[in-house]
Symmetry: C2
Subunit: 240 residues, 2 copies
């Protein structure tokens, strides 16, 4: 019988916030790390793709949490690819605690791009294409397309050395950080991030002067814009 | 025969910069994480101290690097306490690669404080006092006291949610990040951080508006000041 592949982590002091619970950034980071590890071990990781001048690009992410893992808590993250179209794969995750409770889950969409030409490649050309998917359904609703929010608050951020990943672009998790850093600190103790939707729309680079625009309603909405005013990332956080 | 205790880590994608090498922040983080683990395992960790309303405070750090570990490289960090006075312990570190080369080392000073009263406690009162030290010498010169630099450049930073550690103070590693983020990006490819001295002088908290002041000479000098103009942290980076 087919099983979901599983990766084990321990929440370290550097992963937690002032409440000694994992931040949404570190949870997202473990999830994305699991994606990288699992793709690597199954023959379609970034290192394999790089050999053919290709790479993965995360386009959308949905993340739901029941509770945040605590400092020193051991978590297991299961992951599986449920679908591959010509332009996009859907990779899913469940975060389990020691008692097998699902404390968080995520659904992500990825495209494969040509690194030089920056255009999208046909996923059916991947050697691993036929063996990539597993027949488990996604654990939550697909990440949704976010429209431009009507923002009433803006702060600025210039992309710095510490924001960059190995591709020399802003690390995906940084967009979450910039959004959360604008929130009142009391919120983190009062509510949890029940559902987060993220659209990664355009890469940003060192020195880019970004606007972090936000709007408050039933959800906390964010749009990160580059100096040309184009959206680089949109986020919607539903706190409960 | 006595040996140095040893901890093994792998440099993960989130630890590296655009050159796919560990950042100074992640190297410092692994070193400080090792300090925490080793103290915990030997009966004088933060969790033990917390039971007596006490905690460790990092006061100074010196960090020398020969080369930065690469992405996915496995490193071992050895650690030992070489000295305990009434007011300060000296904890040392060597960072080794798979061929047993020492690629970095560090010397740190720690004080024990009463959490409520915020005053320094006598280390001779620690139950583990007699068994804390090992007779190996420090691997580098002691972290030195840094005078106020004559700064000619200033940027601002407001302490945010993501800057806080479990104590609700700014994470020590963030001071390094703020300094490095002001440097020209080309420097990271051209030179290495041969020697870094850091003085942690005062804690900072959420919402604190800090000035990151710097001066360039033989060394890159930084002073992080709080809104009252008092130094919170001074750093000196010698790049070669």
């Amino acid at each position: 019988m087919e099983t979901k592949r599983e990766y084990t982590y321990r929440i370290e002091p550097r992963d937690v916030d002032f409440m000694k619970r994992a931040t949404l950034m570190s949870l997202a980071d473990y999830i994305l790390h699991t994606a990288g590890e699992d793709a690597d071990r199954n023959g379609f990781g970034v290192r394999d793709l790089n050999l053919h001048n290709a790479s993965w690009v995360l386009t959308r992410m949905a993340l739901e949490t029941v509770r945040m893992p605590e400092e020193y808590e051991q978590i297991r993250i299961t992951t599986w690819v449920s679908d591959v179209t010509r332009v996009m794969t859907t990779r899913n995750f469940e975060v389990l605690d020691a008692k097998d409770n699902i404390i968080a889950c995520a659904v992500t969409n990825w495209a494969m791009i040509d690194i030089s030409a920056r255009h999208i490649l046909d996923l059916h050309t991947l050697p691993a294409y036929n063996s990539m998917t597993q027949a488990f359904p996604p654990p939550a609703a697909m990440p949704r397309r976010l429209p431009a929010p009507q923002c009433n608050r803006e702060t600025m951020h210039t992309v710095a050395y510490s924001d960059l990943d190995f591709n020399c672009h802003t690390n995906s998790v940084k967009y979450i950080q910039w959004a959360l850093d604008t929130l009142p600190i009391g919120l983190f103790g009062e509510k949890r991030f029940a559902r987060t939707d993220i659209n990664f729309m355009q890469e940003t680079r060192h020195g880019d002067q970004l606007t972090i625009a936000s709007a408050t309603g039933d959800e906390l909405l964010f749009e990160i814009r580059n100096a040309a005013g184009e959206p680089a990332c949109r986020m919607a956080f539903r706190m409960e």
